[in-house]
């Protein structure tokens, strides 16, 4: 027993000992129900109504109820006078008003359910229905629409609505975006005209009503039956038709001890719902809260996915803008290219740029990395190659310097394989270096196909990078096919890879002109892979000596 009860008992006249007994019974019941020390509070009306309902369902007569109400009123009046509480629950609420007789309750119960088993079946059916529907639903508004309709049907009632506490971070209803109140009316059904009028102003207006205040203060932890609704009262006072609704049960929606909203089911009498009903509503509330959290997480993931997609679209646009829009015309040579990104952001890139003395730089590369950082890495590599190509004549020297700068300017979890060559059209020579990249195939005018053998480590991983230059003298009719491993790694529906042998054979059998070689390879690839979605980007740059 708490100190407050003892203090109250000490100043009560001994002839009024029944008052103290009634108070002790109430406090015992509440301490047991809430599992915490009793401290009187101005919002104890919910607890008082729950207790009165408990007394009635336990067989308490009307006179016992009236006596208990009087005893509790005396205690709360004393608590207010002693400045333990600012206001008494009895200041605002008339607990005598809607008391039904036991016969009335019995008759009403009989009209709802023929026997208790029917009630259990109805509750289980409703829980099952909720479980089936809310688990499929990831849209919060649709989810709550289903919930309020299911609950009123299971209760044999008509009217319910749901508030979401926008500060909980769960949801901001679009209709409430401009509202000054942080409880958004997220769903409703069967609202009487008095609540529908003025765009449901009575339900959505600030300040907090009783149940919202209880939820905000953490005093609403399970379904309660007996909240006398100030919003319904206000609607009735404003000459609105509330169809006699005055009270509602309130089901709190709590996610991991965090209140996120509540569902109200309106009734004409405060003792309409039994403890079994409340138990059902609490169970339903838990189920709905989990579904709401899941919907929130889905929404979060979806938002992130969309943002990532937008970022990648931008990265892709940047990547495309970096690739040559038109290949330069090189006297005596033909250049054709094809670039097929497998995903939104590609790892492959190619570049062709002019150098002093009519020379021309050719690059095909493949970045190993993911997402926007890899796209930036590609842009950086491309720009570094162009920049260093102006400073060094030999491709190997260019790549070694690019490697040094890549290491200095980026993290070491990405790397890039590069084929870089300098074409001198006058001398008909091509000097190249390879950093970890696929060696190109060279088809000689005489008909033979050879795979260049030069190699080296990829760039961006090691400070020590040793690369060498090799020079080819191109004869008329020679064709150089520079590619990325996405081509030779292309797979078909039998999970076979395209492979180097098939590529060499295809190049060997291709018509002579460069454009025709490209078309021939792509046609053969399509014949091999069919509609199979390829795991890697494919890039081809083909140089033909006319």
């Amino acid at each position: 027993m708490t100190q407050f009860v003892e203090q109250f008992a000490a100043q009560v006249d001994p002839v009024e000992s029944q008052t103290v007994v009634d108070l002790r019974d109430f406090v015992d019941w509440q301490t047991q129900a809430q599992d915490k020390t009793f401290i009187p509070h101005m919002v104890d009306d919910v607890a008082i109504r729950s207790y009165l309902l408990h007394l009635k369902l336990s067989g308490g007569t009307r006179s016992i109820l009236l006596r208990t109400i009087a005893s509790l009123k005396r205690f709360y009046d004393w608590a207010r006078a002693s400045q333990l509480i600012e206001k008494s629950p009895f200041d605002n609420f008339d607990f005598n008003r809607p008391l039904l007789s036991r016969e009335q309750i019995k008759r009403r119960e009989e009209t709802r359910f023929a026997n208790p088993t029917d009630r259990e079946i109805a509750h289980l059916r409703a829980l099952n229905h909720l479980g089936e529907h809310v688990n499929r639903c990831v849209d919060i508004r649709t989810l709550l629409d289903t919930v309020v309709k299911t609950l009123v049907r299971a209760m044999g009632l008509k009217t319910a609505w749901a508030f979401l506490w926008t500060q909980s971070g769960l949801y901001i209803a679009s209709s409430a975006a401009n509202s000054v109140h942080d409880f958004a009316l997220a769903s409703s059904c069967g609202l009487p005209p008095g609540l529908e009028q003025d765009n449901r102003h009575c339900l959505s207006r600030p300040p907090d009503c009783h149940c919202q205040s209880l939820l905000r203060n953490g005093r609403l932890v399970r379904a309660v039956n007996i909240v006398e609704c100030t919003r319904l009262r206000h609607a009735a006072r404003c000459a609105g038709d509330t169809q006699g609704l005055l009270f509602h049960a309130t089901v709190p929606l709590i996610v991991q001890d965090r209140p996120v909203g509540l569902i109200n089911i309106a009734t004409e009498q405060w003792e309409f719902l039994s403890s079994a009903d409340l138990q059902f509503l609490s169970a339903a509330g838990s189920e709905v809260a989990i579904a709401l959290e899941r919907a929130r997480l889905y929404d979060l993931a979806e938002t992130r996915r969309i943002r990532l997609e937008q970022e990648l679209e931008m990265a892709r646009a940047v990547q495309k803008s970096l690739l040559p829009t038109q290949l330069p015309t090189i006297p005596g040579f033909t250049l054709v290219a094809d670039w097929r990104p497998a995903r939104l952001v590609a790892g492959d890139f190619y570049d062709v740029f002019s150098l002093p003395d009519g020379r021309c730089g050719l690059v095909v590369a493949d970045v190993s990395g993911k997402g926007a950082p890899a796209a930036l890495y590609m842009a950086m590599t491309l720009s570094l190659i162009r920049s260093e190509a102006g400073r060094y004549t030999n491709p190997a020297a260019v790549l070694v310097e690019v490697n040094r700068r890549l290491l200095a300017e980026s993290s070491n979890e990405m790397f890039v394989t590069v084929f870089y060559s300098v074409l001198n059209p006058i001398l008909r020579s091509l000097t190249y270096a390879i950093a970890g990249h696929e060696p190109p195939f060279l088809r000689h005018a005489s008909g033979g196909v050879e795979r260049l053998t030069l190699g080296g480590l990829p760039m961006g991983l090691f400070e020590q990078l040793t690369l060498t230059d090799e020079t080819l003298n191109l004869e008329s009719g020679d064709i150089l096919v520079i590619h990325t491993d996405g081509l030779t790694d292309a797979v078909n529906c039998r999970d076979e890879d395209y492979g180097h042998s098939r590529l060499a054979d295809t190049i060997f059998r291709a018509p002579i002109a460069g454009q025709d070689v490209l078309a021939h390879i792509l046609k053969d690839l399509e014949a091999f892979a069919g509609p199979v979605c390829q795991p890697d980007d494919i890039t081809l740059l083909i140089l033909t000596k006319e």
């Binding site: 939104l344 190993s368 993911k370």
Partner: protein, 143 residues
């Protein structure tokens, strides 16, 4: 290394939140040395490296449609953990997490736990770079 030439690279780092887990990243096999079991040698070297640092599991991410890589890692004892992540290059595709336990005891020989045959799957760059917060060590393959 093959006659002084590097023929494969693999990177690994220990998970910052759980040092018993190592991550396999940045695997590269020289184009001239593919389909020769280099990938298996690299993974075994990484397993030895990670075991020396008391890691109990080696894990990696692989894109869902890279069937050759998935099959390659399965042959090396990796299994899918069930965890997936959106592929950073395209959220419409997912990446699978794969993991395998790291045997304690004697170091793995190059042929230990070998795939019966990796001919078809020990192909090109099978794992792409991976974002990490930890220090990456690069392990060259030894033959």
């Amino acid at each position: 290394m093959d006659a002084g030439t590097a023929c494969g690279i693999a990177g690994s780092f220990l998970d910052q939140n759980d040092r018993t887990r190592a991550n396999l990243i940045s695997v590269w096999t020289a184009p001239t040395h593919r389909k020769r079991g280099i990938g298996r040698l690299l993974v075994n070297e990484v397993l030895n490296w990670a075991r020396g640092r008391n890691a109990r599991a080696l894990q990696l991410m692989v894109t869902s449609n890279n069937k050759l890589a998935i099959r390659f890692y399965q042959r090396l004892g990796f299994t899918q953990t069930g965890r997936t992540e959106p592929y950073p290059n395209d959220p419409a595709v997912v990446e699978y997490e794969m993991s395998r336990p790291i045997p304690q005891g004697i170091p793995l020989s190059p042929l230990h736990n070998a795939a019966p045959s990796c001919d078809a799957c020990d192909s090109e760059s099978i794992a792409e770079g991976y974002r990490s917060n930890g220090e990456i060590e690069k392990v060259p393959a030894k033959t």
